[in-house]
């Protein structure tokens, strides 16, 4: 093992200054790509030294170089139903109303949909939320170029693409998705990632057996077992607003509507590996306000002007294959920034308003997005937080997203007096501890945007500069009343910390059989989320229902804050105590809360809670 790698391993994951202090020779630094030929230090954004050490076999510690703005932004394709939306067209036959759980060692019935056989042996679908649309997706190994300068990179994808296809779902239209695990056999597959899957619909008000619980992973079709001989799992998404039980209807409370959800693998101990492997994708929900048609409802930009953007950072070896440091549980950062699977792409837009749905799929990096024209940061409208529409749009010049957070923004390109600008990330982060507090100027460019100013185009979408409109009332519009409710609610405290090198909650590591909280269905609770560390930040995600952030370190959430919203991720900063208000409605079963720096999750920073 050459000396320089040991030196670098010893100064694992530190910043430039510390690299200088490590007294690496110029030759060693050149070899590592830390020094450019002109003698200045290259900024290696959080490249893990342990990742470097690991890639010694390839001899290429940093990702191969790429030219910016030569790859077009890939547009994520819209997922189509099975042929004729006919469940009998599904591979392996129509759904039978059951789904495997517990590592495919048991099979149970769906809670809210049934499949009954008729006299001819056919199935009729019923239950409280009988599926009206049927999809199937095939998780399989694939490869694609992440950049024109690269040779194809191997990955695992839903339908063999990264990001996976975009679901367009509608409230009042329950759906069923069959996830086929066509990944390689667990017995022989070599490399990072585990070829078992459990897909979590992030933000979804989903029955437990379809939630993608970490223990509900299923085997590959190459590893058949008695319970799951064909290697697939049916998941049922009711697409119903929370609160239908107390209202006694099948609709729920429309103020609980969700918009920008996403799905990703959630395999116990292997979430991070499988997410980096490519198993993520968007899932959009619409209703009679957020209609998906810019001529109706809230008139938000739609069609080709409604663009999900999934951000992920990667390290590639000299053969353009993903490098994953299997011995890093702090959080892995990449040195190549991808948008929808392309490294630093360009996007040609028309001279009108767009809705960008910003998704940070991680695994460990935080972003602060801004639009930079070379001189200034340009304003835009933030209309959602975590994909839940805000009460009204906020004009902003940046939006910060911890891992797994989302924000929808409206940009009016017709009001921008230039034909070229850049989407940049202004947060500095050098290791898995989270952003270090420095704001970069101008920041790391993520995507070039070229505006075609040569022609005017019709734009029926709502102009936020000409007036305000209520996007979505909050379920608890009166904050003082919400605080009064909270004062009467049961309180639980969860401390996110590190004990003996392990990520823990209340000093405990995730244990699938230990229930940290048993919660009555239809109850309300206040959870106090604590971080006593001054070095680490944790994006804490709760499955099942959104919450409201009541206060941070005792300071109540301001009505003008973007956090005056429904949330499913709490970015937990240094030495913070965050109080949140939660509801547990409509369904029973097991769920989890975890750190969405997915390396921390895999290392144990997760707990199970059950609605009983």
């Amino acid at each position: 093992m050459p000396d320089w790698q040991d030196k670098l391993a010893e100064i694992s994951q530190r910043n430039r200054q510390e690299i200088v202090h490590a007294k690496l020779s110029k030759r060693e630094m050149l070899r590592l790509g830390l020094l450019t030929s002109s003698g200045t230090l290259a900024l290696k954004l959080g490249l893990s030294a342990r990742a470097l050490a690991q890639s010694s076999g390839s001899g290429a510690p940093a990702s191969p170089p790429t030219r910016p703005w030569v790859a077009p932004l890939p547009i994520i394709p819209i997922k189509q139903t099975v042929k004729n939306n006919n469940p009998y067209e599904m591979k392996e036959g129509p759904p039978d109303g059951t789904t495997p759980i517990n590592g495919a060692t048991r099979r149970i019935n769906h809670q809210f949909c049934t499949a009954t056989t008729d006299d001819h042996g056919g199935y009729t679908y019923g239950g409280r939320f009988a599926p009206v649309k049927f999809y199937e997706t095939f998780m399989k190994p694939s490869s694609a170029k992440f950049h024109p300068d690269y040779s194809p990179t191997n990955f695992w994808g839903f339908d063999g693409i990264y990001p996976g296809p975009c679901y367009m779902a509608y409230y009042g239209e329950p759906i069923l998705i069959r996830f086929h695990n066509n990944l390689p056999s667990k017995k022989s597959y070599k490399g990072f990632g585990i070829p078992e899957i459990t897909t979590h619909l992030h933000n979804g008000h989903t029955p437990s057996e379809s939630d993608g619980n970490p223990v509900n992973y299923i085997n590959s079709s190459s590893d058949p077992n008695e319970i799951n001989p064909k290697g697939f799992k049916d998941q049922h998404y009711p697409n119903v607003y929370a609160g239908f039980t107390s209202r006694g209807d099948n609709r729920g409370d429309p103020t609980e509507a969700l918009s920008s959800l996403w799905y990703h693998d959630h395999h116990l101990d292997f979430t991070a590996q499988n997410v980096v492997k490519g198993m993520v994708g968007p899932y959009l929900l619409f209703d009679d306000r957020d209609t998906g048609d810019e001529n109706t409802g809230l008139r938000l930009p739609s069609g080709e002007f409604d663009v999900p953007l999934m951000f992920g950072d990667f390290i590639f070896d000299k053969n353009c294959q993903m490098v994953y440091d299997l011995f890093n549980s702090d959080g892995i950062l990449g040195d190549k920034f991808c948008v929808n699977g392309a490294i630093q792409p360009y996007f040609n837009v028309r001279n009108r308003r767009y809705r960008f749905r910003l998704y940070n799929h991680g695994p460990a990096r935080w972003y602060e997005y801004a639009l930079y024209d070379g001189k200034n940061y340009l304003p835009f409208w933030q209309i959602s937080n975590d994909g839940n529409l805000l009460p009204k749009a906020l004009q902003r010049t940046s939006v910060r997203l911890a891992v797994a957070e989302r924000a929808d923004i409206i940009i009016d390109f017709s009001k921008i007096n230039t034909n070229r600008l850049y989407l940049v990330n202004r947060l500095e982060q050098t290791d898995g501890r989270g952003p270090n507090g420095n704001i970069l100027s101008p920041g790391t460019p993520l995507m070039q945007i070229n505006i075609d100013k040569s022609r005017t185009v019709p734009d029926p979408s709502f102009d936020f500069s000409k007036g305000t409109q209520v996007l979505r009332e909050l379920p608890d519009p009166d904050f003082a009343k919400l605080m009064q409710r909270a004062a009467k609610a049961k309180t639980r405290t969860f401390r996110f910390d590190r004990t003996n090198g392990a990520w823990a909650v209340n000093g405990k590591l995730f244990d699938e059989d230990q229930v940290a909280a048993r919660i009555d269905q239809e109850s309300e609770e206040v959870w106090i989320i604590q971080n006593s560390s001054g070095g680490w930040r944790h994006p804490v995600h709760m499955h099942f229902e959104e919450h409201r952030i009541l206060s941070r370190n005792g300071v109540a959430t301001s009505a003008s804050s973007p956090e005056y919203a429904r949330k499913d991720v709490v970015p937990l900063n240094w030495n913070e105590e965050v109080k949140i208000f939660m509801r547990f409605r409509d369904m029973k079963g097991r769920y989890v809360t975890h750190c969405h720096n997915v390396m921390h999750e895999d290392s144990g920073m997760m707990f199970r809670w059950d609605i009983v």
Binding site: G57, I161, Q321, L326, F327, N340, N348, A502, D602
Partner: protein, 199 residues
Amino acid sequence: MNRRSFAAAGLAAALAPLVPSRPAAAATPSSRGADYFTNAVVTTHRGEKARFYADLMQGRRVLINFVFVGCTDVCDSVTQNLVLIQDLLGDRLGRDVFMYSITLQPDFDTPEVLDAYAERFGIRPGWSFLTGNPAEIDILRRRLGFADIDPKLDLDIFQHAAMLRIGDESLDRWTMAAALMRPEALIKAINRTIPPPGS
């Protein structure tokens, strides 16, 4: 981006997603091998010398943790917990799975000291306590992911990671679990990563 590609791309072009550009190649992870794990010569509590990668890791399914005999903190609890894992592994130990407990204090934990420690806990064949050159042991500790990112904490031996590295070297499949988890939960984590033969 140059102007030509801008024009060629066209404004209305619905750009193709990342579709497979060729049949998926078989996964070929760069072999970590001795370059990564090193062939540091270590000595077991039975006094045997071994090259770390070639003799102890290559092609094996392993459970690895770090301890030291003089630990007044969690080491004894960890070792006791792993004794329960040893029992749950049954006859897999030494055939299908190998356990290594590497000392954090090689200067003090000689093979004799480690042997007495192993004797005290009833360690069976297939589980080895390892000592060696301190600098080489420290490289192993970092390579196996047992270092703290905070240099101050990392220097504090009482803050060391009470974690268990679980892996299959031949498949390059690695994960980590808390060594103090309930044994029933820990064995599940082990079996998820390195399932018993025939399962």
